[in-house]
Symmetry: C3
Subunit: 139 residues, 3 copies
């Protein structure tokens, strides 16, 4: 029984979903551990994580459009506006999705369903470099 860690740096160019399934799969394939639990943790409060369909790109476009409408910018509700019109909506969108995901691993592969992919959900308008910690525990 042992553990492994790494940090992925994911560059983003505005709101939307950025897949990192492949980077995660490649890291897992290189580990000594074959069976265990992978935890994915995003170190930000204005970007989050979702597992979504990786087939039709329109799904990701529609998902982002839904969140943009549900959590609008320039909402008079907000007091916290000093970091820009997209900042408070980014915190709300993060709270509505995930900061962390854990996925069982068998034979060095995540037990994802056929159509599932791992996505960083960027909620800010400008470009960022986002850090995602990967932690694997198993044997």
């Amino acid at each position: 029984m042992t553990q492994a860690f790494t940090t992925l740096e994911i560059p983003t160019r505005g709101k939307g979903l950025y897949e990192f399934t492949r980077a995660t799969t490649q890291w897992l394939a290189a580990q000594a551990l074959t069976t265990g639990l992978l935890t994915v943790f995003v170190q930000h409060t204005s970007a989050s994580l979702v597992i979504q369909e990786n087939a039709d790109p329109d799904v990701r476009r529609d998902l982002d459009a839904f969140f943009a409408r549900l959590v609008p910018e320039n909402d008079p509700l907000y007091i916290h506006t000093m970091e820009g019109p997209d900042d408070m909506p980014a915190h709300v969108r993060s709270a509505l999705t995930q900061t962390q995901l854990s996925i069982p691993v068998v034979n060095r592969r995540m037990t994802l369903g056929t159509w599932q992919g791992l996505y960083l959900f960027e909620h800010r308008s400008s470009s960022h470099r986002r850090n995602v910690v990967l932690h694997l525990i198993g044997e």
Copy 2:
């Protein structure tokens, strides 16, 4: 320290919450491990997981009704419509809830609160068979 895995197959008959606390409890009771972390992972992007009140069934009915109103079908916002009017709402509802849950285990029992139950949240209208992976790590 060791691990155990299984997959539960949960049949669904349309939108709503389907409890699988008992199947999980029974599987845990049969394991050699007594203490650890249970991870529940749903292998779909149009069904999800929630821990909710298991007392009054009206809570589950109201929860589903809330999500049906928040994420309506036939919303002109959506481009991804080829898989039916319930498909894109299903992806959004999944993103708003959980793909994975982890629960500490002591004496072969989950540390759930008195009123907590595990539910598969089905977001499609037709019948499905949903796979939920259970992974236990501990000693």
Copy 3:
């Protein structure tokens, strides 16, 4: 490889976010384990967990205000009203956020980003004492 458990009791005085980062940090610092996975699990269905910005308190105020508007009390949609006007909204707000969070631990510290704090999100109007289970597995 070993494990550790504790339960934090968090007193709340109405809706809003209650930080418990410090209590968690102090517990971790006192453990024999230095590296592993921390799981935080709330034993309620009318309070939940979020990781949010710990800098400007207005962020937490705005977050609570957003959820209060998104999930209003006295909504004619609800059948489950016997436990008070804030009860069913509390269940919905819990489903929209997290019951559980897992965070990698290195050198007895959570791998949180600079601005991330752990919060209990209270969804009921009256005072409560909320139980949060902490489970650490590692070595």
